[in-house]
Structures are given as structure tokens and as C-alpha cells.
Amino acid sequence: MATPTLNVEDLSVDFTHRGTRISAVRQVSLQVAPGECVAIVGESGSGKTQVFMAAMGLLAGNASVDGRVCFEGADLLGTEPAQLNRVRGSKLTMIFQDPMTSLTPHLKIGQQLAEVLVCHRQATWGEAMSAARRMLERVRVPEAARRLNQYPHELSGGLRQRAMIGMSLMCDPALVIADEPTTALDVTVQAQIIDLLRAMRAELSMALVLISHDLGVVAGLADRILVMYAGRIVENAGAAQLLRQPRHPYTAELLKCIPSVTGPRWERLPNLPGQPPQAGDSPAGCAFAPRCPRAADRCRSERPLLQASADTDGPARGVACHFPVLT
């Protein structure tokens, strides 16, 4: 493969709180190819967001990081802040979950978009504001010129998220990380945002990382899906394959939980019993074992490693399970 846009090698992130050390990310490795859309799926606490917080240099002060993260071949974790600031916001950008709290309340929308260009491309404010207006039009914000001069609280949730997306695309990034971009929005608006992301990818052909706890949301957009549980990657496969034939029991259970309009009507909604392990625990063996319907003794004592799973059609896939589902 050509140089992957993002290459994460053996990344571990720990947080130290009042003396105790909590592992959020445990030895995660992944790659994002240029132009690829990779979805990272998992419950809250699975570590999916922290992987990319580490990449962006946005971890909290009590975090310690181990491993490597390379963006377009260059190391991100070890660079100086000035160098990191050149990359993030321009070539490597991030969209956050709640656009109401993630946009600065006292600055106009136009300003918040324009400042990206002013900072990274040394544009004048005049040029940057025109570019901002064009971007708002591009992300399908109606009455873009008027919206430029409004404050975040004057826009609806969907429009705010569009503005956030626009903000992340100002400098034509190579990779956009979208952290739960639809979670804080109404269901009807969610679909619009996914459509927008799809359209933007088609126009700009940037790589996209989609972080979500909802497989249904990522299904229409992702090329590849990674499933994380308790800080580790447990499955990695092409989107179509994963959705058709999940190998890891956790993935299989997740798929069962997606409500479907056309599928059978359930008496009770299916759900996964139990809880993911507490952030501080380091269980021996497979972390999913307590909740896994297929668990055996081997699962409880020996932690399964992510292994390539033989497959005749489609891209390579991996699964971390002693007894993967093979149908």
C-alpha cells in the first residue's frame, strides 16, 4: 500500500487519576489509506475516541501515551507543538460530537470558519470570510451570507453540525476524524449529515474516520469497519463483509441490536446483557468473555490476539477471538 494517511502502531493511552492508573487504549494498531473511510465502532469507554485524541494531541493532562502515530509518514506524537499546529486544523481535522458546546459561543460562525484560513494559509480576513461563505454553501447551509454573521446559538443543531463540517474542510484536509457526528442530533437530521459526509468525500476525496457506537449510522458510509472493545480492536473487516458475516461474537451481538424497519418485529428489543469492564480493570483472558455466549475456559485465561482471518473474497480482515463465528 502507498504510505497510509494515518498509521497507528501499538498505541496505548493511560490516565492517572488520584494515584490509580486507568487503561483507556491498549496496544491499538490501525491504518487509514488515502481516501479511505474507516469506521471505528464500540461502546462508550471502549477507547475509540481516545485513540484519535492522542493522534490530535488533545488528550487530558493526566494522560500518558505509548506507541506511534504517523500522519502522512510523519510522527505526530513526538513533534513540537508548533509543528503539530501546522498539521491539525489544516491537513488533519476533527469534528466533534455536540456542535452546540463545540463551537465558541461568542464568535460568529463566519469568524470561526475564516480563522482556519487566516491561521494556516495566511489569508486576509476578507478573503477568508468569502471562502467561509462559499464553504457554507458547499455544506448546504441555506442563506449562507446571512448565517456567516450569526452566532452558534442562532442556528439549529443540524446547521451547526454542517458548519462544523465546513470548518474542518476549509484547508482541504487529507483526513477528517468525525467523532460521533450524529449522536447529538435528531434522527431525521442524522441522515442528512451522513449524506453530507458522503457528498463531501465524493467531492474532495479525503480520508474519513467515523467514530460511532451505532453500526447503523456507519453502514452506509464506511469502506472498512473496526470494532473496539475495552481498549482493544477485536475485529477489522471490510464494511460489507462485516455486516454480512461478523466473525467476532461482540460484533454479531451488536448487529442484532440494530432495529430494522423491514426485519421481524421483536417482542423485546435485543440487548447485550452485562457491562463492559470498568476502565481500571485488566482482566486476564478475553475482556468480552463474561458477556460472550460462546465463551469457554480458554477465553477466560488466555487473551486472544488479533489474527488475520482467512477469507476468499474481499480485503484482508482480522479478528481477536478464540472461537470466531464462521458461517
Binding site: L58, G61, N85, R88, G89, F96, T101, T104, H153
Partner: protein
């Protein structure tokens, strides 16, 4: 937003009116008269004096005449400083007090905000602890202890600055009084800014600003500063009130010819009109400050503008 401001302005006028009225009647209701401290005067002279000052009129007449005079900026004669009217005394003293007070509040803001910001950025470092300790000292030790101590150190031992006295336009005479006055509000402002900045630094929109690759100074100044200053804006009116209170002491110690000194003298000499005039001036100042702070809020937080 203009409508919001005008409503507040309209509300301020009755408040001032009430203050004037209550003050007037309270003072007149006091036992004894303004001439009690003189040696007992023969009744005819007392009657003449009272006539001259209009004190033998019915109280409502006195009130009406006072208000009328007030509308012309005439606060009446001083009972103690017989050669001067209160208006003249205010005219002489107010510029001095205003100058010192303004410099003090500006100092408090210009030093307090950066100190608080740096303390937040260097949370839990030595610099943080040192500055916050100094802030406690600044608040705990009263101005009338700080100023003489400063005078002792810089004036008498080091001979750098004059201990007391006043020359118009002289910075050397300004320095110690304004520093002593600024110290308590400076300390509070530093603590307020540090606390709100710390909270803001972990908020989502600041995280977004960092994610956009903006340099630290841009994130702090453009994105964090305005919300961080909201508690400081709330504190501005109490800060000015505390500087007013402090000025009484500072002017007395440093011998500055401001209205603070007149306030104290007026109290000690039971000079009614003088004290009444001072109270009106100070209250007006505070009310004006309050209105300005309201404007400031609207600028700091655009959401406020839309609430009215």
C-alpha cells in the same frame, strides 16, 4: 439591545431619587443640630444662623429647596468649612479621587487578568502557588496596613518614593496610593480569572479551537478570554465600591486632597450637607458603573443581547 440599556437607565433614575430622599430625611431626623458642637450659643445667634441656613423652614420646604438646588448642581453650603460650598469642595476633590480610583481599577485589571491567566496555564506549578498565595495576602491585609508599610519601605528606608503629599501630574506621588488601593481587587480578579480559565480550558469549544491548530495565544485571547471575564464583570461594581472605601483611608494617610478625605472629615464634624453631597456622588458613581457593567455583559456574551 438599545432598548435593554434604556430600560436599565430608566430604572436607575428612581433609585437615585430614593437615595437622595432617604438620605435627606434621615439626616434631618437626627437628634441635635449642626451647631451642637460649637460652644453653646445664645439663642438669638442660633436663630439667626438657622435662618441663614434655612433650617427654620418646614421640612418639606427644605426638601424642595434642596432638590431644586441639586438640579442646578448646588449641594448647599458646608457647615464646617464655612468659606466653601459643598459643590466647590466636590469640584476640587473629585478629580483627584477619580484619577486615583481609575488608575487603581485599571491596575487591578491589567495585572490581575494576566496573573490569573498564567496561573491557570501553569496549574499546580510553583508560579501558580506563589501567585495564589500572594492573592490571599492581598485580600487579607487591609489597605490601611499595606499603605503605611509600603510607605515605610519605599519612602523611608529606600527613599525611592514620597510617603505622602500631592502634586498634580506627579506620578511619584500616585504610585504608592494606587498600588495599595489596587491590591485587594487585583487579588480577587486574579483568583476569579484563574478559576474560570481553568474550567474553560477543559471545555469542548476550547478543545475545538486547539484541534483547529490555532496557536495558544489565539485560543486564549480570542476564544477563552471573553467567557473567562464574565465573573470579573460581575465583580466590577463591588470592586469599585471597595476602591471607594479604600480611598477614604488612602487619602487620609497620604494626605491626598480628594473627596474621600472630606467624607471622613464630614463624619467627624457632623457636617450634614457635605456628607449628603458625598453620598450622592458615590451612589451616582456606583449606579453608572452598574450600567456600564450591563453593557459589558452584552459584549462578553452575545446570548445576553437576545434575552430582552
Amino acid at each position: 439591545m438599545l432598548r435593554y440599556f434604556l430600560t436599565r437607565l430608566a430604572g436607575a433614575v428612581p433609585t437615585l431619587f430614593i437615595i437622595v430622599t432617604i438620605s435627606f430625611f434621615l439626616i434631618r431626623a437626627a437628634p441635635g443640630g449642626p451647631f451642637d458642637q460649637e460652644q453653646t450659643l445664645p439663642p438669638e445667634i442660633l436663630a439667626n444662623l438657622e435662618n441663614a441656613y434655612g433650617l427654620d423652614q418646614p421640612i418639606w420646604t427644605q426638601y424642595g429647596r434642596y432638590l431644586a438646588a441639586l438640579a442646578h448642581g448646588d449641594f448647599g453650603p458646608s457647615f464646617k468649612y464655612k468659606d466653601f460650598s459643598v459643590t466647590e469642595l466636590i469640584g476640587q476633590g473629585f478629580p483627584v479621587t477619580f484619577e486615583i480610583g481609575s488608575i487603581a481599577i485599571l491596575l487591578a485589571l491589567m495585572l490581575g487578568i494576566p496573573i490569573g491567566t498564567f496561573a491557570a496555564l501553569r496549574h499546580n506549578s510553583a508560579a501558580d502557588y506563589v501567585s495564589m498565595t500572594l492573592a490571599v495576602v492581598g485580600v487579607a491585609i487591609p489597605t490601611f496596613v499595606v499603605l503605611p508599610f509600603l510607605g515605610l519601605l519605599f519612602g523611608i528606608y529606600l527613599h525611592w518614593l514620597p510617603v505622602a503629599g500631592w502634586e498634580p501630574g506627579s506620578i511619584r506621588h500616585l504610585l504608592l496610593p494606587t498600588i495599595a488601593l489596587a491590591l485587594p481587587p487585583l487579588s480577587v480578579i486574579a483568583r476569579l480569572v484563574r478559576a474560570s480559565m481553568l474550567e474553560l480550558l477543559s471545555s469542548p469549544f476550547i478543545r475545538t479551537a486547539f484541534a483547529k491548530g490555532l496557536p495558544l495565544h489565539t485560543v486564549i485571547l480570542r476564544h477563552a478570554m471573553r467567557p473567562a471575564l464574565l465573573p470579573v464583570a460581575s465583580f466590577l461594581v463591588p470592586a469599585v465600591a471597595s476602591i471607594m472605601t479604600g480611598s477614604l483611608v488612602v487619602e487620609s494617610i497620604a494626605g491626598l486632597p480628594g473627596i474621600g478625605r472630606y467624607m471622613v472629615q464630614g463624619a467627624l464634624n457632623r457636617d450634614y450637607t457635605l456628607v449628603l453631597g458625598m453620598v450622592i456622588i458615590y451612589s451616582t458613581l456606583l449606579i453608572v458603573m452598574g450600567l456600564l457593567v450591563d453593557l459589558l455583559y452584552a459584549w462578553l456574551d452575545p446570548r445576553v443581547r437576545f434575552e430582552r
